[in-house]
């Protein structure tokens, strides 16, 4: 995996965050994971103080996104990321409990790269995350547009 890809995890449920992190680590992915528990702070980090996203120009990021956030909707974050010229190449993995087909379609339309429904069954959950880790290890995260 081309270093240094940073994984941005936007997940309000700390338990979920912990479980995701553990399973990612178990799959052998050791990249840095920066967790955010709400949309606002995540957006602030992603788009920087000036809100242009210039801070992350050229840095390789991967976003793990939950749709049900307390302050903003994950869909909004997805939209903004994909509309931003500096961030739009960043792969976004939507990982959420929502399995509504409309929602899934909407996310793909907005440019999400992978949509994973969190299964309650832990084995499936762990499996999904490990697959994701595998996915991380094979995808080539592009150097963001210069």
């Amino acid at each position: 995996m081309s270093d240094p890809v940073t994984i941005i995890m936007i997940e309000d449920d700390e338990g979920h965050a912990r479980l995701i992190e553990r399973n990612i680590r178990r799959s052998g992915v050791n990249n840095e994971i920066i967790p955010f528990t709400n949309g606002t702070s995540a957006l602030k980090y992603l788009f920087g103080a000036d809100g242009t996203g210039l801070d992350h120009k050229g840095s390789a990021l991967l976003i793990l996104l939950d749709l049900n956030l307390p302050d903003t909707s994950g869909i909004d974050i997805l939209k903004r990321v994909k509309e931003n010229s500096f961030l739009k190449a960043t792969p976004v993995v939507v990982l959420t409990t929502t399995d509504d087909s409309h929602e899934i379609k909407r996310c793909y339309e907005l440019g999400c790269n992978v949509y994973i429904t969190k299964p309650v069954n832990y084995d499936s959950f762990a499996n999904a995350i490990r697959q994701l880790g595998l996915f991380f290890s094979v995808i080539q995260v592009p150097a963001a547009a210069t």
Partner: protein, 487 residues
Amino acid sequence: MLVAISAFSVALVSKARTDSGLVVRTVEVESYVIALLLDIRRAESAARGYMLTLRPDFLRDHDSAVANILPGLETLTQLTRDNPIQVENCRKMRSAVEIRLGQFAQQMDLIKQGDPGSAITLVREAADAGSGASIREIGRAMRAEEDRQFVARTATADRTQQLASVVTVAGSGLVVALAGFSILLVRRSSRARDAAETKLRDSNLTLEAMVDERTADLREANEEIQRFAYIVSHDLRSPLVNIMGFTSELEQLRGDIFRRIAALASAQSAALPVPENATDDEAALKGADKQLADDFSEALGFIKSSIAKMDRLISAILDLTREGRREFDPVPINTRELIEGIVKTVAHQAAEAHAKIRIENLPNIVSDRLALEQIFSNLIDNAVKYLETGVPGEISVRGRTRLGFAIFEIADNGRGIDPKDHQRIFDLFRRAGTQDRPGQGIGLAHVRALVRRLGGTMSVASEVRRGSTFTITLPLNWPFNKRNERA
């Protein structure tokens, strides 16, 4: 009123007719009197002529006149029966006429015996006795009386006629007045009707607006519930993922801990022969340690099965809300084909249960295919699932149409449902009878929700151990009104 008036005028007209009849009779009487007098005169003059000339034609003339007198008098008496004065007059007249006739007869006899002298004497005597004069007198009196009556009767007739015309005029006036009154009444009632019609139209509009408003309210409330259920089930799922996840983590920890305990225990009791795989095998645990490990496993097992159940329930609610939000797409459906397809999918279970499924004539309908499939497959599935053990199953699917609705019946000879549970089985998560079959208690709730959304109704008739019949009534052509489309 009108009847009274017409009856009265009819009576008056007939009275007028009687009156004029009376007038005519008066005139008649008068002419009879005159004729009588004339006859007497004729008889007299003929008798005189005979006396003078002895010519037989005078005698014939006299005889015919005499013959006319009595019948004429008789007729006169008949005609004047109703007037006492005239009756008296008639009586006098009769006696006078009889005397005169007697004289005539005497004269004639004398003349025939060839004694004209005595006859002439007799004529003279008769003239002196004034019998002819008295007859004339009486005739005059009778005529005067009749004249009087004529005047009186004419007056009466005039009066009657006047009265009749007055009544007729009054009647006509009354008729016109009544007609006017009726027109007024009709006008008033039609005005009232128009007003009522307007009012009805208004209230209809209001009602429609109210119904629309209520429907909108209901729809909103329904959507609210759907949204609520959706959000709640999602939000419930989130912590469930954690509980399940960390329970699994705990399970792993448990494995690690007890392996460690086993290793420690075996290290402590070095005297004992150490099994080769002791370091990572829980089987090496002894006594209290083993008990602890089992308790731990049991607790974790309960937690996990509860989570699994909760997950299924939440999924069921989610499915239901999703169904509630799904848009229906009505298409013409060959019901028989659809049912045959469903029967094929349960053929295996049916064969295992030794059940036969019979499909009878079914009406085709226009409805949502997926919804129909779900409805029928749930019901047929249930019929196969809840057969009476040891009794070969017989399931039949029947259909008929009535008043724009298709009525389907799915009947089985299965274990049946206790009447007290007939409502309960349609409730979410509720089931009836022995709980020996897998299920969440969702099927029938779901079916009923679908049937209702399709504009139909469903009911059950069942007896324990006698089988159940589920009846579904669906509109033949859905959507039959626009409101459903908007829903």
